[in-house]
């Protein structure tokens, strides 16, 4: 995985559905093909974010567990 050209949105400390809203905002502002990574400490994100990414037709590149939060890397597909 290349670490270049990804936009990181730190939504740690934000509650459901805050991190998802941050991601949607980020995706809207991004161009097709760009990578957005949202950081979330909210447990709802682990289900909500992959679910939304699939429904919205983007690509869930990966979910990475860190200490006390998770990183969700998403590629804007359309």
């Amino acid at each position: 995985m290349t670490e270049e050209q990804k936009t990181v949105l730190d939504a740690r400390g934000s509650f459901c559905p805050g991190p998802l809203m941050e991601l949607i905002r980020g995706i809207r502002q991004a161009k097709v093909g760009e990578l957005i990574e949202v950081w979330s400490s909210d447990s709802g994100s682990r289900r909500d974010i992959p679910f939304w990414v699939q429904k919205a037709g983007h690509q869930m590149v990966g979910v990475y567990e860190e200490a006390g939060y998770a990183r969700f890397l998403v590629k804007k597909v359309k």
């Binding site: 509650f15 809203m21 909500d48 429904k55 919205a56």
Partner: protein, 142 residues
Amino acid sequence: MVDKMPNKMSIVVYSGTVDKLYPVAIMTSGAVAMGTNVELFLTFYGLDAFRKGEPQKNQKMDVNYAELAPMLAKLMKEKNVPSWYDMLKQAKEMGNVKVHACAMTLDLMGMKLEHLDPIVDDVVGAAEFVDNAKQGEITLFL
């Protein structure tokens, strides 16, 4: 953006206490995230909660949970949970959220649209709201 999902969620917002206004804001945000349009119908105490200046100072809690109120308020402050009003405003900025005031309640309280918070879009009657809600698959009462 999202296919084969209900196109609309309608909520009758009857309650004016913060513990009920949070689910209004959170469900609205969730709907917006999924590309679902939202229609809120503010009536009785729910409408009172949208009087100009009221969303910013409303601290009312359901009396059944009054003993929990100070603890919840403390936790929310500590954890920086945004107010229900800020959440709702954010959802409205991001998606298609319409906020309607109940005409009958407004008349009863002797108020007009200009007495309400600017987040409120218009004044509608119950019949119009129900007719509109019929076109959606989700209807909630809070």
